[in-house]
Each structure stands twice: as structure tokens, then as C-alpha cells.
């Protein structure tokens, strides 16, 4: 803790260093506020969130919740790309910042945030640094500043502890509960100073730390001046007391700045970014999301565990061993959870685990067992056998208990982003419930009723925004191409806090559901690398009924089609485009994609001759693509030249000596189907394989598979093909036949059962038999075989004498 006296403003300023999500820290902060009774409590956090403080302190608001900050870089203040940014600032009951807000407001002190607004922090940071680090989810917390230097790695090694979090638990949490505030904050500050000193100056600049600290100092001094004015004479006599709670990493620097005030201006941003582009909302949060180990490192892990500690230290009769009790609770809860999953953990196992946890704590010199002893105890006593995926269930269940399941709630007047308001308005308009959390079902005749189509569009948009409100249980799926025959969609929908969280999350994209969906679609398209993804997105855009202002989308997709050099990706794109082309009127879309299709076909035709020598495993995809292309050029009625170049490409492939046999068969099938080739020519090619070398002979099966895929009706033109197949089968021995059997199976799957019957009949006739006689063949009895074996042995013995 740093105490600074400012005679100019007649204020005494205390700076408390904290670590986010730390029960001991929250407890010490609360005690300090209650003892010192400051006039103002200032918290690190973008000051745009000041308006949310009443809602955060409302009795109906339950932690965990998060402040959601968004910034739409329309001015290009952050980067030339003018992207959209967002981050979260999660609060748990035991977050020192929340404890400070609660304790401060209970005393009637002024409470406020003092950090730079989110957009300005971004503008002050270099790309890829600080809050502009690439990550799954960005977080306002900057605890990583405390644990990344080599100094702390050495410290962990020296103290024999596995990680910074274990180090922290041992020296600050477990020991912090019994320490007085002065000592505790002094220790923490020593620690933080080390972290600060081992951080290079350039890093501080790049991460925007210096700008933020300058701003915080400015806010602290402004508060002091305002207090001096409002308190007037009172302040003249006794002075104002200001408490600033900030991340421990910043405290030493803030103290330095406050002592030599006047220099903060040199680091302050010259110009602040526009307020209209900054969004700030409160959203319910979950412990799972707050758990540091779930993806990004900030704050302490195991919120469920530490929530228990916090609750125990709150109890009136002071709990002498909150950690011991929490460990016991967790062991019992895990045991119960394992038993519910048909595991076998006995009460004795739990007893052993408890004594193990205590023993380990004693061995490691900790006053009570903590989270790490709890994990070790469960690993030793609950996991039976080698620790691997099959036996780690107790550990997974324990992890779940330690993470906690609590989801926060917000009070009614927490303020909502326009996107969420639009969502509610649409729900009202369509009569969809948002009050109950029971699942409802809705059947929509999307192609006949306009209103139903609108509801479906609304659901599709929400789905696209990843808001878990509605899910489609039945209906045509344009992405997979399944169930296209269905005329109705069946949806199930239900309201939950996650829907709210997801919509707040998406609110950076726009003020209405439609606008957000369109902006997100644009962004996705911008990021797409393959034409496949772009065209798939177009099917979604059609389902969502996004119209107007789509020209850039089409332009971008056309660019993707031009630049993509992957044949299969383009073929998939052609499939999606074909769907859109067929259905655009039905879905009420305002634009045809014929032009895009032609671009795609041209590209594919350019690549097609190069696809002759593919690997066997790509055969099915390639044949599918060739056929899809055939259908597409056939559908475009007035594009005769395209059709011609298609067949020319196929003929060019045919001339390639190294062509893959399956593709070879397929293009001959298609050339025959398109009337460009006679059956005799195909027979000739087929004979080429049959009379070729052994390797080529073996490829006949693949050729047949391709041929049947392309034009199965060839088989029924006379019996020449069946004779050919028959000859092939006669030429190979049994071993080869068995090896080719899977391929032959595949070749005949293109026929219907009636057709295979017909083929069988013809084949049987070739050998002079008839099918019914074949059906009546009886199995050879086992005794006959045994007799045969005896006979053979007898003969052998006779011959050998």
C-alpha cells in the first residue's frame, strides 16, 4: 500500500495494489475501506462504465457478471483496417474491485472507475500487444503482468511450487487471511514492484500501460480537487481521503507519478477517440467463463473453490479453517458426483483424500490445504490404476466442482444494447416468448406464409449470431444439402441468460439483429480464404433473408472464386451456388447468382484437365465434381460455348496417358451421356484395360466404377458391357478378385436392386444358367468337406507309400 499526501488538494491518497479474483485481496480491501472510511473509492477500469455502477450494486444483480466493452473503429484510430473490438471485465463476489465498490458505496463514498476508455486503450497499444493481443476472448484483466517475468519463474523454482498461481495461493491467500492489512499490502507491493522493475520500458509503452497510468493519475487528482471544492471548509480542516484500487502492477508507477505530479501529460493520449463508437454494457457471466484455465490467463483459476472460501470468511462466526472446510466439501461433492456416474468412491476414499490433503499441506509448509493439495489428494486417492483418459473421471468431476457452475443475474434496469432491445421487439412482434425458460416449438411453412418466412429468417439470423435461442430440428438444410424436399421448418426455441450474453457479445456488429447478421456475414466473408466457405456463407445469407447492400458480398465472393486455385473448393462452391441459383426465388432473395456461377464454372474448366492424374483416394470427390459441373453447364441453357469447352476439357483428360482409371471411366460415361461418344468407343477403351499389363488389368474395376457413376445405363445397351465384365472376372484369379471386391461392390452400388437383378439375370444367362436355379442352390454340408479332407489325406498317404 502506498500513502501519498497531496497538500495542494488537501488530500491523502492511498493506493491499494490488488490481484483480480482473489478472496484474500477482497477481504483486505473491504477491511481497509471500513477502517479508513475514505471519501472516494476509485477503481481501475474504463471510466465509461461509471454509468453501470448503480446496476452493479443493485440488490437484484448477482455475480458473476461482466462489463462488456466494445469499440467500433470507424475513425481508424486503432488501425487502418477499422475493425470492431470487444472485451470483458468479469466480476466475481470475491473480486477486490467489486468488494471495494460495495464497501465504498455502503459508506456513502463516491465510487468511480478511473482508467482510459476502452477505445483509447486500444489506440494507445501497439498491434498484438497488451489488449490488442490476438486471443479467443480478450479480457480487461492484466494479471499476466504479474506472472510473466523470469524473476517469478525463478521464485517458483526456489520455493518448490509449480506455478505462479500456487505461489500466490500459498503466500498471499493462505497466509493473507490471518495477516493485518498493512503487512499484507506491503508484501504484495514488494512483489509487484519486482514485477514492474523486470518489465522493459518499451513494453510498458507498447502495451499502453503508461498512457493508462497517466490517465488514472489525472482522474485521481481531479477527484481530489472536486472533493476539496464540494467539501469546502471541512476539507480545509481534515483533508479528503481517497482510496484507489488498481492492479498491483500499476500501483508503484501511480505512486511515483502522484509524488512528482505535473508530468502525467507527456504520456496522455493527444486526442481521445469518439465516444459514439464506444459501447459499454453489463452482462451476466458464468464461473466457467471466468475460470482462468478455460482459454485465457487472467485472474485466479477455480472460481467455484474460491467462491466457497469467500463465503466462509463472510460468515459471522469466523471460520477458523475456511480452506480446510472447502477442501472437505469439494472432496465429498466429488465423491458423490463420481458415485452418481457409477464410479466407486467410498467414504473411506474420501477420508484418505482429506488426510492426504492435510498431510501435503503440512509437508509443504502451508497452514491449510489449498486448491493444489485438493487436486493432489484426489489424484492419489480417487484415481484407481494408471492415470489416463479411461480413469480420469474423478479429476474431471473435481475440476467441474472447482470451476463452479454459477451463472450471474442482472437487475431489471441494467441497460441493454440496442441489439438486445431489437431482439425483444422482434420476439414481441412474432409472439415468441422470452419470459419462460421452457422450450417451445414452432412449425413454419416458410414457402407459403410470409410471416412464417420472416420468423424463420429471424431464427436463422440469431443462429448465425451464435445466440442459443432457437434451433432447427427439421427442415431443408442448404449447407449440407439434406432434406431439400421438406416444405416446412420445425424450430424449438427457449430463452436463457446465455442468449442475452451472446447478443450483448454480438452487439458490436450492429443495433438490430438484421444489421448485426449482415455485418458479421460481411466480416466472415472478408476472412474466408476458400471459395467453398464464401459460397456456403451465401446460402446462409439467403436463409437469413439478408437483402440490399449485398453488392460488396457478391464482389468479394467473385474475387474469392477468381483467386481460389483449389479444384475441390471451387467444386463445392459450385454446389452451393447451384443451390442458391435454383432456390433464390423461393427464398425471396433479390439477386440471381448466375454470373457468379459462370465465373466458377470457367475457373473449374480451367483446372479440369489437370485433374486427370489424381490419387485413388480423391477419386470419389473428383468424379462428384466432374458430374456436378456437367449438371451445371447443362442447366445454363444459352451457354453453348461453356458446354463445348467442358467436353473439350474431358477429351483432353482422356488423352492423358496417366489418367486415373476411375476418372477415366467417369468421363467416358459422361461423354457418352452427352452424346459425344459412342458405346463402341467406350468398349474399345475398356478392352484396352483388359488386355493391358497386369497392373492395368487390375484397374478395370476402378474403370467400371467410374463408368457406372457417369452413365450406368450403358450396361443395358446390349450385353457387350456385361460380356466385357465377365471376361475381366475370368482373367483374374481368386486372390485378386478378393482384393478388388470392395471396388466392385462400390461400382454396383450405383444400381437399384431391380437393376442389379436384371444384370444378374443377364450374367447368369451368359453362362447358360438361370437365376432361379441359382437361388435354389443348396449349401454344401459340413460332412462333405470333412469327407473330402479324409479322402485327400488317404490319397496322399497311398501315393507317398
Amino acid at each position: 500500500m502506498e500513502t501519498i499526501l497531496r497538500s495542494q488538494e488537501m488530500a491523502e491518497i492511498k493506493l491499494l495494489p490488488v490481484r483480480h479474483h482473489s478472496p484474500a485481496c477482497a477481504l483486505q480491501v473491504r477491511r481497509m475501506i471500513e477502517a479508513w472510511r475514505p471519501h472516494a473509492v476509485l477503481i481501475e477500469g474504463p471510466d465509461t462504465a461509471d454509468s453501470l455502477i448503480p446496476a452493479m450494486l443493485h440488490s437484484h444483480t448477482k455475480a458473476p457478471f461482466a462489463v462488456y466493452y466494445s469499440y467500433d473503429d470507424t475513425e481508424g484510430a486503432v488501425s487502418r483496417e477499422r475493425e470492431k473490438y470487444r472485451c470483458y471485465y468479469p466480476f466475481l463476489d470475491y473480486s477486490p474491485e467489486l468488494a471495494a465498490l460495495r464497501a465504498g458505496s455502503a459508506l456513502g463514498a463516491q465510487v468511480a472507475f478511473i482508467d482510459l476508455p476502452y477505445g483509447d486503450i486500444l489506440a494507445a497499444s501497439r498491434e498484438g500487444k497488451g489488449m490488442r493481443q490476438e486471443g479467443e476472448q480478450s479480457n480487461y484483466n492484466d494479471d499476466y503482468l504479474l506472472s510473466r517475468s523470469a524473476y517469478f519463474q525463478l521464485l517458483c523454482e526456489k520455493t518448490g511450487l509449480r506455478s505462479f498461481d500456487e505461489f500466490w495461493e500459498k503466500y498471499f491467500e493462505l497466509e493473507g487471511l490471518s495477516q493485518d492489512g498493512e503487512t499484507w499490502f506491503r508484501n504484495l507491493l514488494t512483489y509487484c514492484r519486482q514485477a514492474r522493475e523486470s518489465t522493459p520500458f518499451e513494453q510498458l509503452t507498447e502495451e499502453g500501460c503508461l498512457a493508462r497510468e497517466a490517465y488514472m493519475v489525472k482522474k485521481i487528482l481531479e477527484t481530489a480537487e472536486r472533493l476539496a471544492q464540494t467539501r469546502g471548509e471541512e476539507a480545509q480542516e481534515a483533508g479528503s481521503r481517497i482510496l484507489a484500487v488498481t492492479g498491483g502492477f500499476h500501483t508503484p508507477a501511480l505512486a511515483g507519478r502522484l509524488r512528482e505530479a505535473g508530468r502525467e501529460a507527456e504520456y496522455l493520449p493527444k486526442k481521445q477517440v469518439g465516444a459514439k463508437d464506444q459501447g459499454v454494457y453489463l452482462m451476466p457471466y458464468s464461473m466457467e467463463a471466468a475460470d482462468a484455465l478455460n482459454g485465457y490467463a487472467s485472474g485466479m483459476p477455480f472460481p467455484g473453490f474460491y467462491q466457497k472460501i469467500w463465503e466462509f470468511v463472510q460468515e459471522e462466526a469466523e471460520e477458523p479453517e475456511p480452506y480446510g472446510r472447502a477442501v472437505l466439501d469439494m472432496i465429498v461433492a466429488t465423491g458423490r458426483a463420481v458415485r452418481r456416474k457409477e464410479g466407486s468412491i467410498s467414504a473411506y476414499d474420501e477420508i484418505c483424500a482429506c488426510s492426504m490433503a492435510r498431510g501435503l499441506a503440512a509437508l509443504r509448509g502451508k497452514p491449510q490445504p489449498g486448491a493444489y493439495e485438493l487436486q493432489d489428494a484426489a489424484l492419489s486417492c480417487f484415481v484407481k490404476g494408471e492415470y489416463n483418459l479411461a480413469t480420469d473421471e474423478p479429476m474431471r468431476l473435481l475440476r467441474g466442482e472447482m470451476t463452479g457452475r454459477r451463472v450471474g443475474e442482472l437487475c431489471g434496469d441494467a441497460g441493454e444494447p440496442p441489439l438486445l432491445q431489437d431482439f425483444r421487439a422482434q420476439c414481441r412482434r412474432f409472439g415468441l416468448q422470452t419470459a419462460s425458460t421452457l422450450e417451445s416449438e414452432s412449425t413454419l411453412s416458410v414457402f407459403s406464409k410470409k410471416r412464417h418466412r420472416q420468423i424463420s429468417m429471424f431464427f436463422h439470423r440469431l443462429l448465425f449470431l451464435q445466440a442459443p435461442y432457437a434451433r432447427r430440428v427439421k427442415g431443408p438444410n442448404l449447407q449440407t444439402g439434406r432434406d431439400r424436399n421438406l416444405m416446412r421448418e420445425v424450430w424449438k426455441y427457449k430463452w436463457s441468460a446465455q442468449v442475452m450474453a451472446a447478443l450483448i457479445d454480438a452487439s458490436v456488429y450492429g443495433g438490430s439483429v438484421e444489421e448485426a447478421a449482415r455485418a458479421l456475414a460481411g466480416e466472415r466473408l472478408e476472412r474466408a480464404v476458400y471459395a467453398r466457405d464464401g459460397a456456403l456463407l451465401l446460402t446462409q445469407v439467403m436463409e437469413m433473408g439478408l437483402t440490399g447492400e449485398l453488392s460488396p458480398v457478391y464482389g468479394r465472393l467473385s474475387g474469392l472464386l477468381m483467386s481460389d486455385a483449389d479444384f475441390y473448393s471451387l467444386a463445392d462452391a459450385l454446389g452451393s451456388l447451384g443451390l442458391v441459383e435454383q432456390l433464390w426465388r423461393l427464398y425471396g432473395s433479390d439477386r440471381n447468382v448466375r454470373e457468379l456461377m459462370i465465373v466458377c464454372i470457367r475457373r473449374l474448366l480451367g483446372l479440369l484437365p489437370g485433374m486427370a492424374r489424381i490419387k485413388d483416394e480423391d477419386m470419389a470427390r473428383c468424379m462428384e465434381a466432374v458430374k456436378r459441373l456437367y449438371q451445371a453447364v447443362g442447366r445454363l441453357e444459352d451457354e453453348e460455348t461453356l458446354r463445348d469447352s467442358y467436353f473439350q476439357a474431358l477429351q483432353a483428360m482422356d488423352r492423358d496417358g496417366g489418367i486415373q482409371a476411375g476418372v477415366h471411366g467417369c468421363i467416358h460415361g459422361i461423354l457418352y451421356g452427352g452424346g459425344r461418344e459412342s458405346a463402341e468407343r467406350i468398349l474399345q477403351v475398356c478392352r484396352g484395360y483388359l488386355t493391358g499389363t497386369k497392373d492395368q488389368l487390375m484397374k478395370t474395376a476402378l474403370f467400371f466404377r467410374g463408368l457406372f457413376f457417369g452413365a450406368k445405363d450403358l450396361v443395358f445397351v446390349g450385353d457387350a458391357f456385361l460380356r466385357m465384365l465377365d471376361e475381366f472376372l475370368a482373367r483374374i484369379d481368386e486372390g485378386d478378385f478378393l482384393r478388388l471386391l470392395p471396388e466392385l461392390h462400390m461400382a454396383f452400388t450405383y444400381f437399384t436392386p431391380a437393376e442389379t437383378d436384371r444384370i444378374a439375370r443377364t450374367a447368369a444367362e451368359l453362362h447358360g444358367g438361370n437365376v432361379s436355379a441359382m437361388h435354389e442352390l443348396k449349401a454344401v454340408p459340413e460332412e462333405w468337406y470333412l469327407y473330402g479332407r479324409r479322402l485327400e489325406r488317404f490319397a496322399l498317404e497311398e501315393i507317398n507309400g
Binding site: 498431510g359 501435503l360 509437508l363 493444489y372 486417492c381
Partner: protein
């Protein structure tokens, strides 16, 4: 016993000085019949950060077990409790060494051991008879031949059970009642036939999960043990350190006066590490061999090469000899593994030879021995 005359002295003799020093300076609380306090046991195995006083001078306790400190702590606490300790894991992960260190530190002896095999019978686990005495004097304590388990209970010391999963499941199960009741009944001795275990008694088992021919453990027996899974070392630097330490002490025991070449140890550690993990430090994907790729195997490959160089060579490590020994170590299970080793040389070693140079070059040139 003179440690110099033993092929492989037990831990309590090898580290006698350290144990004595720790005992003299040990002020921690001890479970009954333990020679050292849990904290001193931890220091013995994981090493001391500062020298401790010993016979007027001082002595630094060296770190003997590398890899997972928390695991060692859990083992110690388990042994102080009511349950046995079962160390499981792949072969060559130093399970036996850890169990020896634990028994030497806790009970002062690491030799009270049942060596489990497929032929182990129940009387080898409990007790058997000296038939001459049995016939002469009848059943009595004199005629009874105590098993290591019996001795452990009688004296209040730890009993090690090596390779417990090699013994048939029904024989393993004879441990169940002893472990839960801490009583062994010898009906032949009549009223004197009940042996109550003294404090300090416990069992450390080791079991192999990867080898062929291991038996399952019954869940009743599993319940009486706390399991610790000993994983192979995951860091190349640590693995190299282990190879260097082990080879150095093996060489000292065999009076081979030859320094350990750290570069070769690193080469070997990288090879074993990369083959085991299936990915190289340069990012190649590699087929992992089916044979056991443990650090102990790497130590033995190094040591063999060292002996070869000492007696037949010029007293230096010969990379070609190293590759030949590597082939010998890897082609135990199947010929396929040799193909995988070849693949490793043709990709990873080739690229490292051209990018990093150094020892990787002669290593790559020695690939002709991969046959």
C-alpha cells in the same frame, strides 16, 4: 558392507552419508518408526537447496528423482497413511528407483522386497517353512521362514513389492486382508499365530502398464492402494541431465575412467524424446516405434557405447557405435521399429545435420548401420 564391492549397492549404502546427515539435522515430526521426518524424506529425494551440516563439515543433498516433485510429496504422505502406494507407468520411468529411495529414507532399508514374477506363490508373499526344522521341532517361530511382507509387519518397516502385475491375480489378492486389517494369521502357530503389524509398516508396489504378459489387479486390491502414475520425462534438457547423472554413477561403479560427453547425451535425449513424442523440434511428424522408449533405455544405450569406447576404442564416444547400439535397443520388439528409426534418420536427423550441424552430422553419416 563395503559399497565398493557390490555390483549395485542399495540406496541406503550408496547414500549413507546423506541419510546420516539428514537424520542428524532432522527436527521435523516423524511418524512412528520412521527414520526421517516426511520433510527430510522429501529433501533426500528432491535434494536440498543449501548444504546441511555433517560431521563438522557440510554436505549438499543431491536431487535424485527428476520430473515431478508433487508426485514425490504425494508418495510420502500416502506412506504415512493407511494405504499402500502403487507406482504405475511405462517401463523405465524410474518407478523402482523411487520406491528404493522412499524405503531407504523412511525405513533405512530398501532390500525388504518381494520380486513378483509369474511364478510367485502365496507363501512367498506371506510365509513358508524350513521343512527340516518343521519336521524336527514342529510348527514354531523357528521353523517359520518369514517373507518380506512378514518382516515388514514384524519390524514396522516398508515392504516393496516389485512388478506386482506379473504375479497372478489370485496371488496378488493375498495382500488384500493384510493391507486392510494389518494382521497376518499363521494358523499353524496356534495362539501365537497372529502377527499384528507394527507402526511404520506399509507396502510400495510397482506395476508396469505397457509390457506384455501383465495381469489385471482386482478392484478390491486397487482400493487398498493409492495410485501414482509415473510419466516419462517430457523435457529434453531434463532427460539429458538424467542420462548424464546415471551414466556417471554407473561408470564410477564400474571404475570406467571416462568423462561423460554431454553433447552425445543431448543427442540421445533428443532422439528418444522425439521418437517417443512423435514430433521433432523442427516440427516433423514421426512414426513412434512400438518398443519402449524410456530414459532408462537411453542410459543403457549410452553406457554400452561408453564401455565399447573404453575397452575397444580410443576412450571416446563413437557415434557409429552409438547408432549400432540404438539399433540393438530398438529392434527388440519388431522389425517395423527399425523402419521407423530409419525414417527418423532420413528426415529429422538429415535436416538437423544440415541446419544445426555439430554432432548431428556424424550421426547422420552413421545411418549406414541401420539395417
Amino acid at each position: 558392507m563395503d559399497a565398493r564391492k557390490l555390483l549395485r549397492p542399495p540406496m541406503e549404502i550408496r547414500y549413507r552419508e546423506e541419510l546420516e546427515a539428514l537424520k542428524a539435522s532432522d527436527s521435523g515430526k516423524k511418524p512412528e518408526n520412521w527414520q526421517l521426518s516426511p520433510r527430510a524424506v522429501r529433501t533426500f529425494i528432491l535434494g536440498s537447496s543449501a548444504p546441511i551440516a555433517y560431521r563438522g563439515g557440510s554436505l549438499l543433498v543431491e536431487k535424485k528423482y527428476f520430473g515431478n516433485d508433487a508426485l514425490v510429496e504425494r508418495c510420502i504422505i500416502t506412506l504415512a497413511g493407511n494405504r499402500g502406494l502403487m507406482l504405475v507407468g511405462e517401463p523405465g520411468t524410474a518407478k523402482t528407483m523411487l520406491s528404493e529411495l522412499l524405503t531407504a529414507a523412511i525405513s533405512g532399508v530398501s532390500t525388504n522386497t518381494i520380486q513378483g514374477t509369474a511364478g510367485t506363490t502365496e507363501d512367498m508373499i506371506k510365509y513358508s517353512w524350513n521343512y527340516a526344522l518343521l519336521l524336527a521341532k514342529g510348527p514354531g517361530r523357528d521353523a517359520l521362514v518369514p517373507s518380506p511382507l512378514y518382516t515388514g509387519m514384524e519390524q514396522g518397516i516398508l515392504t516393496r513389492f516389485e512388478e506386482i502385475t506379473r504375479t497372478p491375480a489370485e496371488v496378488q489378492d493375498s495382500l488384500i486382508s493384510v493391507l486392510s486389517d494389518k494382521v497376518l494369521n499363521v494358523p499353524e502357530l496356534g495362539d501365537d499365530g497372529i502377527l499384528f503389524a507394527r507402526p511404520g509398516f506399509n507396502v510400495i508396489g510397482t506395476a508396469n502398464t505397457r509390457d506384455k504378459g501383465v495381469n489385471e489387479m482386482s478392484s478390491a486390491l486397487k482400493r487398498r492402494f493409492n495410485f501414482e502414475t509415473v510419466a516419462p520425462v517430457r523435457e529434453v534438457a531434463l532427460e539429458k541431465q538424467i542420462i548424464v547423472n546415471e551414466v556417471r554413477s554407473l561408470a564410477a561403479e564400474s571404475h570406467i575412467d571416462m568423462p561423460v560427453d554431454e553433447d552425445v547425451a543431448e543427442l540421445l535425449a533428443s532422439t528418444y524424446h522425439e521418437l517417443r513424442e512423435g514430433v521433432s523440434s523442427l516440427g516433423h511428424r514421426i512414426d513412434s516405434p512400438g518398443a519402449v522408449m524410456s530414459t532408462a533405455e537411453a542410459v543403457s544405450v549410452y553406457y554400452q557405447t561408453m564401455i565399447g569406447g573404453y575397452y575397444y576404442g580410443d576412450g571416446r564416444m563413437d557415434v557409429e557405435e552409438l547408432v549400432r547400439n540404438l539399433v540393438g535397443a530398438l529392434s527388440k520388439e519388431s522389425r517395423e521399429d527399425l523402419g521407423k528409426l530409419k525414417g527418423y534418420f532420413d528426415t529429422v536427423v538429415r535436416d538437423k545435420a544440415s541446419k544445426e550441424g555439430g554432432l548431428w552430422k556424424p550421426y547422420y553419416e552413421a545411418r549406414k548401420w541401420l539395417k
